[in-house]
């Protein structure tokens, strides 16, 4: 094997949310060291939640991530309500699902078009891509804009929305607003349809590999904010039992914590969700999936992109279903009576399972908080995937090709490093 000694430093990984780097040391044609260095600064959310009142929790946890604040608010609302023994009822449950549809739509469209697609079409950024593929980019921006509008319908603004509360929402939209939104959703269905077929026709790397998928599973519906935690190797637990099966550990090169299921890496996110919940897709989305000819469950990690586009379709179909017979309720939230207890919340953030646990006292003050974001759950999986992807790709390729492949593999997971507390400088050292 080659004895050349090379070292590259690329400033920071682009098109990911947050900051980190990749350290890759190749000696005598073998990978000696491979680590994702996450250097997103810790902000200690779990600590400064202590001493805050229950009604401040949603506004606090939203700030963990500007791209998926709804996910944080929904897991937290569920956990606090669990601790208080509160059931907010069907209207609130439905509207939370609509709110969540908005976030999947916004976050997935952002990732597919601004972050991931340039890799597959050979551009550095969406700006370059827009010059050559203007209609693809415009379609993506329209869908992203629609997602933001759907979040605004219930939340007032799409980043750190103000509309959600423990017990429901501060305000129920009026019928006319919902009517306008329905028109926009119907008008976007052809875009979502074309997007899925476009993604299925992309030349994606063929990259079959063995991995464990983990996601929520609901009795009948595609999972957003309800369900049990299941895996494709037989795990099926209530969300409160998460701690009995999943362990977080801290490694020196990271400010994120790594989660393992029974000691091994696992996958959360759109591909894991679709692999485990294909039978719960809305009929129109399933028909569309069949039309692509791609078979799920899939063990090609790059089918994450296709799964993400299909979930854009799911989000629009679900939002239409839930809003179609909308009646404005007299109250948008149920009364909240604090009581001492421990509560759990788990929902499917755009990037995967987001688990919360709170301990509250009888006045509704947070005494302890624990939050496990999707990216820290995927981190061990990303490292395992990188190792085998790079070996399969060939370590003798030029450094810039190796770097692009590594970045493509990582971006495919849509890592949200701000959430994981944390992305990507790459240093390749060869001896």
């Amino acid at each position: 094997m080659t004895e050349r000694s090379v070292s590259i430093h690329v400033p920071a990984m682009t098109r990911v949310e947050g900051e980190g780097s990749l350290r890759l040391r190749i000696e005598h044609g073998e990978i000696r060291e491979l680590a994702l260095d996450i250097f997103e600064p810790p902000r200690y959310f779990e600590k400064f939640l202590e001493g805050r009142r229950y009604h401040e929790v949603l506004d606090t946890v939203a700030r963990i991530c500007g791209i998926c604040p709804v996910a944080y608010q929904m897991s937290a609302a569920q956990a606090v309500e669990d601790a208080f023994g509160l059931e907010p009822g069907p209207w609130v449950r439905d509207m939370r699902r609509v709110f969540y549809c908005g976030e999947w739509l916004q976050s997935h469209a952002l990732h597919v078009h601004l972050l991931a697609a340039p890799d597959f079409l050979g551009f550095d950024s969406v700006v370059g891509m827009a010059a050559r593929h203007p209609e693809v980019v415009r379609r993506g921006l329209r869908l992203q804009g629609l997602g933001n509008a759907l979040i605004r319908l219930l939340g007032g603004r799409s980043v750190h929305p103000v509309g959600a509360s423990v017990g429901g929402f501060f305000r129920a939209p009026v019928e006319a607003e919902v009517g306008d939104m329905l028109e926009q959703l119907h008008a976007a269905l052809p875009d979502a349809h074309d997007l899925v077929l476009w993604a299925a026709a992309l030349k994606l790397p063929q990259d079959e590999q063995a991995f464990t998928s983990v996601a929520l599973r609901h009795d009948t519906d595609y999972p957003f904010a309800q369900g049990r935690i299941v895996s494709d190797d037989g795990l099926n637990i209530a969300i409160a039992q998460y701690g009995d099966h999943f362990v977080e550990e801290h490694r020196p090169h990271s400010t994120a914590l790594f989660s393992l299921l029974h000691g091994a890496p696992y996958l959360v996110g759109p591909l894991a969700r679709l692999n485990l919940n294909r039978d719960h897709l809305p009929a129109a989305s399933l028909t569309l999936l069949l039309q692509t000819g791609v078979v799920f469950p899939s063990s090609n990690m790059f089918h994450s992109l296709l799964a993400r586009t299909l979930e854009i379709h799911v989000a629009i179909v679900e939002a239409i279903r839930l809003l179609e017979n909308y009646r404005r309720p007299t109250a948008a939230q149920v009364a909240v009576t604090p009581r001492a207890g421990i509560g759990y919340g788990a929902t499917e953030a755009p990037r995967g399972l987001l688990w919360h646990r709170y301990e509250l006292d009888d006045r509704g003050i947070v005494r302890a908080a624990r939050i496990v974001p999707p990216t820290s759950q995927n981190q061990a999986r990303i490292e395992a995937d990188l190792r085998r992807s790079l070996l399969q790709y060939g370590l003798n390729r030029p450094d810039d090709k190796l770097r692009l492949r590594a970045e493509t593999v990582i971006r495919n997971y849509d890592p949200c490093i701000s959430c994981a507390t944390h992305f990507l400088k790459i240093g390749v050292t060869r001896r």
Partner: protein
């Protein structure tokens, strides 16, 4: 003439304020035509210390590495504009400054605290380098950011909105949630920019846009106590998203005891 150049930098933050650009839709493509985007990691452009006309900084300075980076960013930028509450006032993470909790919290969260290089204080950018213009808000809103870019490109100082949320509430014909429902609204001391969003949604403002000009925090504190808030709750109102902003810090500390204790 060369196109003006901009950079977007991220420090300790949630990435939400950068979305003012990434959520701009067609305007993002238009902006990319008007200016040369030299550095914006999330958008796919990396050249951290390229010389630029305007550097937007998101996030507070909270690690040893960020201390060095902010000096270098200042050194290569004609104008430096802070983007949002973290960069402008320290953000939510500045809550660790209240009791000097950095070391204790680091040990509580991380098994190997020796690898975590946080500073004792999470601080605004202006604590370390000269800032030319501040954009408040958690998050900033897109209109506010694109307007500032346009004004700076024309060579004029951006118009600063220092009005109170109350003024905006009246302009929007929103019902006052403090007068009609007794909610502990911070609108009377908070800078507008959000469009009086919370009152319009029937809830009390939680001051995510920071202090307005001449905020009468003492009078509002008395009013909050009159509404039945305990001292710890008055402290919680002021010491939240913008706890490190001097006007709120001072008002909150009058009622604050360690860890928001009310024993």
């Amino acid at each position: 003439m060369d196109k003006p150049s901009i950079a977007v930098h991220k420090f300790s933050s949630c990435d939400g304020c950068q979305l003012a650009f990434l959520n701009a839709g067609e305007d993002l493509l238009k902006l990319a035509g008007l200016v040369d985007i030299r550095h914006f990691l999330e958008a796919g452009v990396a050249d951290e210390y390229a010389r630029v006309d305007i550097a937007f900084v998101e996030g507070s300075v909270s690690t040893t590495d960020e201390l060095t980076r902010i000096q270098r960013v200042r050194g290569c930028s004609r104008y430096l504009v802070t983007l949002g509450a973290c960069a402008t006032a320290g953000g939510l993470q500045a809550l660790r400054n209240l009791d000097g909790s950095n070391t204790a919290w680091k040990h509580a969260v991380y098994a190997q605290p020796g690898f975590i290089h946080t500073l004792d204080q999470a601080e605004p950018v202006s604590a370390h380098v000269k800032v030319d213009f501040e954009l408040w808000g958690c998050p900033v809103n897109g209109r506010q950011v694109l307007a500032a870019v346009q004004q700076l490109l024309f060579g004029v100082a951006p118009l600063e909105q220092r009005d109170k949320v109350c003024m905006e509430c009246k302009r929007q014909h929103a019902t006052c949630v403090m007068v009609t429902e007794g909610r502990p609204c911070l609108g009377p001391v908070t800078r507008t920019g959000c469009g009086a969003l919370c009152p319009r949604f029937g809830r009390d403002c939680y001051a995510c846009f920071g202090p307005a000009e001449n905020p009468n925090t003492a009078a509002l504190s008395r009013r909050l106590e009159g509404l039945g808030l305990a001292p710890a709750d008055v402290a919680r109102r002021f010491l939240f998203i913008n706890s490190h902003a001097p006007a709120f810090n001072e008002a909150g500390r009058q009622h604050y005891r360690q860890g928001f204790s009310d024993d």
